[in-house]
């Protein structure tokens, strides 16, 4: 089903509000980088507002394999009503339900632990296999960066997903680029996945219509696991805030947070 213009406008408003929440979270926490979180809310908004709740007849589970995207996940879960918005301002604080990495025992709406430097696909694939064995109508969506291509375990696990017929598994790769050019390593890897038997697609991660077309075309009775490469452009976001918070040790002060919020207001 084609996504309507009106629905796209609704999603754009939601993602704009989420971006502001992310800036406030990281600003108030005075900890963490904006560089990645500010560029991916559209992907999360699409997944949580269009896929996770609208895939009729299927239960969806979300596996976050990019630790830097944790603030985005929290902002989205808050917006979806899993916990109050005021919890966001306690991000990374002692006693908060929102620690630096999602804790699925503590944070409402979180489906799995997020591992640093590991292959989240390994957790998601094992989980998806159990759902198939139990005939559960369930889809496992795993979000990773293309960094995992360097890990030998990734190809092993990808092969395993094909061999076991994990058609209920969607592996989304976020491909960050400034010039919309797909690097050779990514192209090689997508070709490998395709040859293995994965259903491989590319889409613009900032374009709801593009993402919607891909998901509308998915057939979950097909046993092929699905790999979706979402290209994330980095040319139209918060130049000041991202520059200031690039790198793991930097953080925003309140003045920089205000500038970042003004920049976001200016983009609307």
């Amino acid at each position: 089903m084609r996504i309507s213009d009106e629905r796209i406008r609704e999603l754009e408003v939601i993602s704009s509000e989420i971006k502001k929440d992310i800036v406030r979270m990281i600003g108030i926490a005075r900890s963490g980088s904006l560089e990645i979180p500010i560029t991916v809310p559209e992907v999360f908004v699409f997944l949580y507002w269009e896929v996770l709740e609208n895939t009729i007849g299927y239960k969806t589970k979300f596996f976050l394999g990019i630790p830097e995207c944790t603030p985005v996940l929290y902002a989205v879960l808050s917006k979806k009503g899993y916990f109050g918005r005021e919890e966001l301002w306690h991000f990374r604080r002692l006693g908060s339900i929102l620690p630096a990495l999602p804790d699925f025992r503590r944070t409402p709406g979180v489906d799995s632990p997020c591992v640093i430097g590991g292959i989240e696909l390994s957790i998601a694939a094992a989980n998806a296999l159990v759902d198939i064995e139990r005939n559960n109508c369930s889809i496992s969506i795993c979000l990773s960066s293309t960094k995992i291509f360097d890990d030998d375990d990734f190809l092993e696990e990808s092969l395993y997903a094909v061999r076991t017929g994990l058609g209920n598994l969607i592996q989304i790769f976020l491909l960050f680029t400034t010039d919309n050019v797909i690097p050779n390593t990514v192209e090689n890897c997508s070709n490998k996945l395709s040859k293995m038997g994965w259903n491989v697609c590319f889409a613009n991660g900032s374009n709801y219509r593009d993402m919607s077309q891909i998901f509308c075309g998915y057939d979950y009775s097909d046993t092929r696991p699905k790999a979706l490469f979402l290209i994330i452009g980095q040319d139209n976001d918060l130049i000041h805030a991202k520059t200031k918070t690039a790198g793991i040790l930097s953080s925003m002060n309140s003045e920089e947070m205000d500038i970042a919020l003004e920049e976001l207001e200016g983009q609307q």
Partner: protein, 316 residues
């Protein structure tokens, strides 16, 4: 224990018992990445109950996490070397989210004696003990393995079970002195002069040592400390308050293992002389397991010597 010899290795006893348990419970799944290990139970359990993980041992841990997240009663089986090398992943993917995964190390201690030091991991208990909120279990012989499996099955979070490939003599336990699983340790021989706190294969050696000590007029009490973490402090304290001294016997490095746990406990509560019968701070070369145990000083005679040293210093 029908179907296996009481003197078989704890690994063989585990394979027998887990296959029986899996036959009764379809939710049990065994995750492994080593065909040599899975061959022991491959034909005895359902196809869907064996998950062969591909890739590294870190990947094995993540697969186990995925299965446990979806409600499977997950038993992760691997060589001690592969499990210890995945320490960071165990911490991150299993211990922090507190997933009920039972990690079974098949070849702990010196039971892989013929291999090099790189595969003979004697520090596994020390490594696992330092990860917060993990239970560490070491069955002393084949007869105890079923109880250890039942105990581990009831735990809500990660348990590490150290097994061995060497055949062990059955431990003749004084009946009904302690409930097996509830307190973490049991007194297998009562005595009044020296406490010998032991685990795993060393419980049998401790009992032989106790017989020798008895002939020398020293009445030793032998504790089978099958749960090293959480440490069964009350059982140990009750014993050393009577005996006034302690010998710790374990098939592992003396740093951070059972000796570490005993020393930490007694330093805070009841300061008595303690001696260790364990592997010193060095790597162990190749040899047969029996040769290596003799070389490393892990025989009953070594326990007797340690007890004879500590007994005159006892504090009551």
């Amino acid at each position: 224990m029908n179907g296996i010899s009481p003197e078989c290795s704890t690994w063989d006893a585990f394979c027998f018992n887990i296959a029986n348990l899996a036959a009764k419970d379809a939710d049990i799944v065994l995750v492994e990445n080593d065909d040599r290990l899975s061959a022991a139970f491959k034909t005895k359990i359902g196809h869907n109950q064996l998950f062969h993980s591909t890739g590294s041992s870190a990947n094995l841990i993540l697969n186990a996490a995925g299965l446990a997240l979806n409600g499977k009663k997950t038993w992760l089986i691997g060589s001690t070397e592969s499990i210890v090398s995945a320490h960071g992943r165990i911490r991150e993917a299993l211990a922090i989210p507190s997933l009920p995964v039972r990690i079974v190390a098949a070849n702990g201690g010196l039971s892989l004696g013929h291999e090099s030091a790189s595969e003979q991991i004697t520090e596994d208990i020390a490594v696992m003990r330092t990860i917060p909120e993990i239970t560490v279990l070491v069955p002393s012989n084949a007869a105890n393995v079923a109880s250890i499996i039942n105990y581990a099955s009831s735990l809500p979070s990660v348990a590490y079970i150290r097994l061995g490939l060497s055949k062990i003599a059955a431990v003749p336990c004084e009946p009904l002195i302690e409930d097996f699983p509830s307190c973490g340790a049991r007194i297998v021989k009562s005595g009044a002069d020296v406490t010998i706190c032991s685990c795993g294969i060393m419980v049998g050696e401790a009992l032989v040592a106790a017989t020798t000590l008895d002939k020398q007029g020293i009445d030793a009490e032998v504790i089978d400390c099958y749960c090293i973490k959480p440490f069964p402090e009350q059982v140990l304290l009750a014993s050393v308050r009577r005996t006034g001294c302690c010998v710790v016997a374990e098939e592992g490095t003396r740093i951070g293992g059972l000796y570490g746990a005993v020393s930490e406990s007694l330093a805070a509560t009841c300061q008595v002389p303690v001696r260790s019968v364990a592997i010193e701070d060095h790597f162990v070369n190749s040899g047969t397991p029996d040769e290596l145990r003799e070389y490393c000083g892990l025989l009953s005679n070594d326990i007797v010597n340690a007890a004879a040293q500590v007994w005159p210093l006892r504090r009551r």
